[in-house]
Symmetry: C2
């Protein structure tokens, strides 16, 4: 593969929203009681060298206070200027080209985060693994993970976990990615 | 409860579609290899006395050939005349009133099927249990299960199963329904 491995790790409502209207995440809070070991988030963070996220996700992360990715390369997909405070870089080009560049810089595993970025990755067949954590909530409206611009794609179930909080977590891998690994 | 118990049992794509454009179900076929015992469909059919479905679902069922519900009461939610061939009845009123009438007729457990009917049930807080079978496919477009008219609701995970076909099945119960059962 001429690019690093790309993983998606995202929580979503039963009706497919990763956030409520205006980016609201409060509905997820009752289900945030699992440890990073239980959710596999810890394992993912140990395994990746780079995060790629959209501007909205980046701003959300900044609003949390402490920067959660001190030891990682972080690239923000944005066309607007970025006031880099933790070494994060702005990138305004195609995700595919970014991944190519990261590969040449030695990146082996990328965590792709945020609705628009994930959709860009899916549309470009650039996602190798997708961990979906279904929150047992019907939200009605909000920011969707998927959209109508995506072509049909088939995935392979790698793992299914019912977490103590009530999250149902499924790890899907792209069959093509699996073939590439062999 | 002044109505029969109401269960939903539906397969959907990762992006929340119960059928492709024009009602296409061919994308589900590779994942239809589990037995009714494995999926729990057999158990559900043994347990219910009545099916309620929308007109589109009804027409789809008719197109399959043999009538699959010979021993069940079937009510079709429709405003158009129905050429009843297997004892099925048309109903044009509110789902809530239909459930009340069914209860008085001795119904104890109803299977509510079809996107519009399920949404009507969810909007009216009339669904007690929801079995979602996630097909490992991103479809892009089609007929959605959920819509923006739904109010937020929280559910309880009752069971999670990874089926041999690749389906991931989660049974959700409505916390209020559980309280009513106790």
């Amino acid at each position: 593969m001429n690019r690093p491995r790309v993983s998606v790790f995202v929580g979503l409502s039963l009706d497919g929203f990763i956030a409520g209207p205006g980016g609201d995440l409060s509905w997820m809070e009752p289900y945030s009681t699992d440890s990073p070991e239980e959710t596999g988030y810890g394992h993912l963070m140990d395994s990746i060298d780079t995060l790629i996220m959209g501007r909205n996700t980046y701003e959300k992360v900044l609003s949390f206070g402490a920067w959660p990715y001190p030891a990682k390369r972080v690239v923000v997909l944005t066309h607007r200027p970025l006031d880099s405070r933790h070494g994060e870089m702005a990138y305004a080009g195609l995700l595919e080209n970014l991944l190519d560049r990261l590969k040449r810089q030695g990146s082996r595993h990328v965590y792709l985060d945020g609705g628009e970025s994930v959709r860009q990755g899916l549309a470009g067949h650039l996602v190798d693994e997708m961990t979906l954590s279904w929150v047992p909530v019907i939200l009605g409206r909000g920011i969707p993970l998927f959209d109508a611009a995506l072509c049909p794609s088939m995935w392979k179930v790698k793992e299914v976990r019912a977490l103590p909080s009530g999250l149902v977590q499924t790890v899907y891998s792209c069959p093509h990615a699996e073939a590439a690994e062999r």
